[in-house]
């Protein structure tokens, strides 16, 4: 249970900059997700915290101890940071039990800590097997048990579920996160899957351009993204042109309240973010002057459906609960509700 603080981290490979002036602070006991596209430097970030690589500039502190700076470097074996990689990376020449016990001292091994953890991840009777005899999900669980066995201060997970198939992914994810919370471990995991990040983490950092653009709780991130890029990253976004004045935005979909603390004193043109679930559709009743569009596409997911509606020159993505209210080609009337985020648009 420790805090992790990164300040001013920069790292380049050759002439290719990967991280540029990154700052981040992970509170004690929190589960933090770092969300970013492939190649955005998420893995590099984890490797720096683990100590496998050193940044070109910046400082890393764990629990107020400086582990990496221009004057000091603590090697990985002394940082007590657990690391679970994408492919698990179990030692192929050791049994599952020996894998989990690898980081333990002799006393701890005798004390049965390895068995304890195997039971925790639900693999109590697999101790004698070898890694290649386990399935992918089982291997990931063993990797996690191995990382947790020496009671690390921080646990780092590098896209731990991406190599598993969808059904397994969700159930394993929830199991693993539950375990980590029970252990009160400070956890940082990186992913490119925004659904994963939002559903599991206490705090989410969106990484882009070598920096963390926004670091906030999932709800805040979703509802009040700092800019368009972040907005589009964390969920589907409809960006409309509009005009903001005194806390209200006028858009083609009507007048909407601006989420508080954003643009408090701004008056002028803006891009307005309307999430798909904020838009409702209904069949037109007679002719009206309400905003209208034509359904171009629909995808039914069972619990909800997603419609793509042509609206003027743009297309809007709309989510409706349950069955779609209109078929492809039909004309629908649109209205929006709730608070919106917006950013100043160039004049």
């Amino acid at each position: 249970m420790s805090t992790v603080r990164l300040s001013g981290i920069s790292k380049s490979y050759g002439r290719l900059p990967v991280l540029a002036g990154l700052d981040c602070e992970v509170p004690e006991g929190a589960v933090v997700a770092v969300l970013g596209k492939s190649g955005s430097g998420k893995t590099t970030l984890l490797r720096l915290v683990a100590g496998f690589e050193r940044p070109d500039e910046g400082t890393i502190e764990i629990d107020e101890d400086v582990v990496d700076s221009a004057q000091r470097f603590v090697p990985p074996e002394r940082r007590r940071v657990g690391y679970v990689a994408q492919e698990g990376n179990l030692f192929p020449h050791l049994t599952v039990e020996k894998n989990v016990a690898f980081g333990l001292s002799r006393a701890e091994r005798a004390g049965g800590r390895a068995e304890e953890l195997l039971a925790l991840v639900g693999l109590a009777d697999m101790g004698r097997r070898y890694p290649h005899q386990l399935s992918g999900g089982q291997q990931q669980r063993v990797a996690l048990a191995r990382a947790l066995a020496p009671r690390p201060r921080v646990v780092l997970l590098d896209e731990p579920f991406s190599s598993l198939d969808a059904g397994l992914r969700a159930s394993l994810r929830s199991d693993v996160m539950q375990l980590l919370r029970e252990q009160h471990a400070t956890t940082v995991f990186v992913t490119h899957d925004q659904e994963e990040a939002l559903s599991v983490a206490d705090l989410v950092g969106v990484m882009e351009g070598g920096r963390i653009r926004q670091f906030a709780a999932p709800e805040d991130l979703y509802a009040r993204p700092l800019d368009r890029t972040v907005a589009e990253f964390v969920g589907e976004a409809n960006i409309l042109a509009g005009h903001v004045s005194s806390g209200w935005a006028d858009t083609a979909l009507g007048r909407l309240r601006v989420a508080d603390a954003l643009l408090p004193n701004y008056d002028g043109p803006a891009s307005v973010l309307v999430r798909p679930e904020q838009i409702t559709l209904r069949r037109p009743a007679g002719s009206s002057e309400e905003p209208a569009g034509t359904v171009l596409q629909r995808e039914f997911y069972g619990h909800d459906c997603l419609l793509v509606v042509g609206f003027g020159a743009t297309q809007l993505r709309v989510r409706c609960p349950g069955r779609p209210p209109a078929e492809v080609g039909e004309k629908v009337v649109l209205s929006a509700s709730g608070e919106v985020a917006c950013w100043p648009a160039p004049g």
Binding site: G51, F52, E77, P92, H132, G136
Partner: protein, 528 residues
């Protein structure tokens, strides 16, 4: 796929420097040979080469290489298919037997044939003997490739309308193309370097001519100029392989593809199939073993006294081969680490240049070392160290190839995880990397030992005064004494000494493939 971030990092200076040093050491014989050949001036060099005799040597060498490579490739592939992809009765036994020719040195095999059937000589005799001796170089990697190939791809092909045969040819064989090329390359290069067999079969090649020059001319210049041609040919073979191959890597797609493939039933073709495999095993394995045993019991003494006893010769052979194997293994490790952990065009070039050494026949290396020792390193002249060095240089690429798969498996990612679990760098290397690399190191050792114990040509030139190895003493009896009975025990001992390392080598390849099958995508390009 995994991002090879760590590959973009510059390699540690020590590793890079060691690798460069090793490679420079290996490539130096070439420079020496050039120096020696150019001693009398380039005009003289050209005059020595511009003769009808040399042209006939070239013709002999080329036509033999073409025939043997083609036949060995066809034989190796068809045998591999029969044992790996069909329901051949007694598959496992046949597979083990088909590999045995590796244990019989080329000159012993030629001797067994020519001692029983003197009409086996010249071009066709050489084609027969060389094909029987070299086909395992194609058989082993092709069998491994067929075993590891993904049946899913063939099934897709069949779903697209191809027959079983067509699917196999156009999908699996195609994929194994680079493996086939690699094996054929090994066959061709080995062929270029042999001396004993051709001397016995009375077929004039560059190597026999080089020895002839040494024995009649009083300056080494002509011999070294012929060596240059030989090296040129070998480099040509290497270059064409590099041009045509895809440097293929055969992977199973999908992490846990454990499905074995159903072997093709043979039905009525079963008996002919068994007969054809037996038709290969009998002359390649059965015949030499029979002949050696025959001469062991039939022939007795010889008027030619042994310079050393059988036990002493065996002792020297084992000692020098083991030392050569140890040195080669130790030298190959940094180069292998560099190539697998820090792949870059530069490190790959470094690795490839060591294969250029494979192109240099043993006799050329030996001549170069003698030249170096007599001119520069006086204390090494006629010393056992020089012979060990020759073995290490000659068989270095074999060691490299044998250990690459294991070294690739010991990824630095595993070391990092080990360190994150609290173990220091040395502990991690001992507890994680070493166990993973150890099978590869053992395989490399076995491979080099095997090759050194049966080496004749360089040993003839470099053996210290008063020492004989099994190979040289056998040669003295079989060729210079024509006393077959006295030669047989040496042949038998050589073959017996090779059995254990050959077996271990085979097991290593088997086991590493089993682990790969279950462990997901790994590099199988070790043999190519």
């Amino acid at each position: 796929m995994t991002k090879l971030l760590w590959g973009r990092r510059r390699p540690p200076l020590g590793l890079a420097a060691t690798s460069v040093l090793v490679v420079a050491l290996l490539v130096s014989p070439l420079a020496l040979i050039v120096a020696q050949a150019a001693q009398g001036g380039w005009a003289k060099l050209w005059a020595a080469l511009d003769r009808a005799f040399v042209a006939s040597l070239l013709w002999n060498t080329v036509r033999l290489a073409l025939a043997v490579t083609a036949l060995a490739a066809a034989l190796g592939t068809s045998m591999a298919w029969l044992t790996e992809r069909t329901a051949l009765p007694g598959r496992r036994a046949w597979a083990a037997l088909l590999v045995v020719p590796i244990v019989v040195p080329d000159f012993v095999l030629a001797w067994t044939w020519s001692s029983m059937f003197p009409s086996v000589h010249g071009y066709w005799g050489s084609v027969l003997v060389m094909t029987l001796h070299l086909y395992p170089l194609v058989y082993l990697p092709m069998a491994a490739a067929f075993r590891a190939s993904d049946p899913g791809q063939e099934e897709i092909a069949r779903a697209l309308g191809l027959t079983r045969w067509q699917a196999w040819l156009r999908v699996s064989v195609r994929q194994a193309r680079s493996t086939l090329l690699g094996g054929s390359l090994l066959v061709c290069l080995a062929l270029l370097g042999y001396y004993g067999a051709f001397e016995d079969l009375r077929y004039q090649t560059f190597t026999t001519a080089i020895f002839g020059e040494i024995q009649t001319q009083f300056s080494p210049q002509v011999a070294s100029s012929l060596s240059l041609v030989l090296v040129g040919l070998s480099v040509l073979v290497l270059a064409s392989e590099a041009a045509f191959s895809e440097r293929g890597v055969l992977r199973r797609s999908g992490p846990m593809a454990q499905r074995a493939q159903s072997p093709a039933a043979l039905g009525r073709a079963r008996l002919p199939a068994v007969c054809s495999v037996a038709a290969v095993v009998a002359p390649a394995v059965g015949f030499p073993v029979f002949v050696v045993v025959y001469w062991l019991f039939a022939g007795g003494s010889s008027a030619l006294p042994a310079a050393v006893s059988l036990g002493a010769a065996a002792g020297y052979t084992a000692l020098y081969s083991a030392l050569g194997a140890a040195v080669a293994t130790v030298l190959a490790l940094p180069v292998s680490l560099l190539a697998t952990r820090h792949p870059s065009r530069w490190s790959l070039t470094l690795q490839r240049s060591t294969f250029a050494v494979q192109a240099v026949p043993g006799i050329v290396i030996a001549l170069a070392l003698v030249y170096a020792a007599s001119h520069f390193i006086a204390f090494a002249y006629q010393s056992p160290e020089l012979l060990v060095a020759a073995y290490a240089v000659m068989f270095f690429p074999l060691g490299l190839v044998a250990m690459t798969a294991s070294v690739a498996r010991a990824s630095p990612r595993l070391e990092e995880v080990g360190r994150s679990l609290g173990k220091g760098p040395v502990t991690v290397r001992l507890q994680v990397t070493l166990p993973l690399v150890a099978p590869g190191l053992a395989a490399a050792f076995c491979f080099v030992f095997l090759s050194a114990a049966t080496e004749l040509t360089a040993t003839l030139l470099l053996v210290p005064t008063g020492v004989q190895t099994l190979a040289t003493q056998f040669w003295a009896y079989a060729e210079e004494g024509a006393s077959f009975g006295a030669a047989a025990p040496y042949a038998a001992t050589m073959m017996l000494m090779s059995v254990v390392p050959a077996y271990l080598l085979g097991r290593f390849f088997d086991r590493s493939l089993a682990a790969e099958k279950a462990g997901g995508a790994q590099v199988l390009g070790a043999l190519t």
